[in-house]
Symmetry: C2
DNA sequence: CAGGATCCCTTCCGATACTG
DNA sequence: CAGTATCGGAAGGGATCCTG
């Protein structure tokens, strides 16, 4: 249970899942689509998602090789609950930032 | 957006929110209700949740002091989307574990 | 192009001891 | 009871270089 949510809670995982939700992407396309992610973290996060069966990897034996990543059927099922959470975050981020500002102001006294 | 999900992705935060969903708890009660959390992490996680306005803290000036933590109205609103995700995790953990076993078996060749 | 390997710095976090 | 303070090991993750 916890390890499942750990993956969802991972910043890069959620971003990658939402990028792949639209259409399959190649490695370098993901690198461009997700600014600030390093090659290292992209590789590692994709491996984790693949290991969990949320993403699948297809290698085209061209020269130079191309690799495409896409959501699996299982991976597609997480989009709805994940979207619910992102919608909540979107609805609530103003209230959260206000709460933080209030808290920090009181702490700074 | 990311920092909001970071808090949700935090293992202890989600556990504390679901414990507090039933009723308010005192510090020591939370310590007992969430096995394996250290005093340090409990304090820190509660501060973060309080800072974000999801949890509120009430101090009773007794001797020795008692402190009660409860969800705020904002904190209560996250329970539904969070529940959706936990339900997904519950539905999918078998498939995920199977995918992991398959992946690890192929990696070990 | 896609990714493995290495170095190294930073952050996380548990254990322990102390306080109002 | 409900914390705070400090230390030290473990883990996260960026930068860089190398390869099929």
């Amino acid at each position: 249970m916890r390890d499942v949510l750990d993956r969802v809670g991972d910043k890069w995982s959620t971003l990658l899942l939402s990028v792949l939700a639209t259409r399959p992407h190649r490695f370098s396309a993901l690198l461009r689509a997700v600014p600030d992610i390093s090659k290292r973290m992209l590789t590692q996060t994709l491996r984790d998602l693949e290991r969990d069966g949320l993403v699948e990897r297809e290698v085209f034996p061209t020269k130079p090789p191309a690799v495409e990543y896409r959501l699996t059927a299982l991976g597609a099922t997480i989009l709805e609950p994940l979207g619910g959470l992102m919608a909540w975050a979107d609805r609530s981020h103003a209230a959260i930032r206000a709460a933080r500002a209030r808290f920090d102001a009181l702490s700074g006294l």
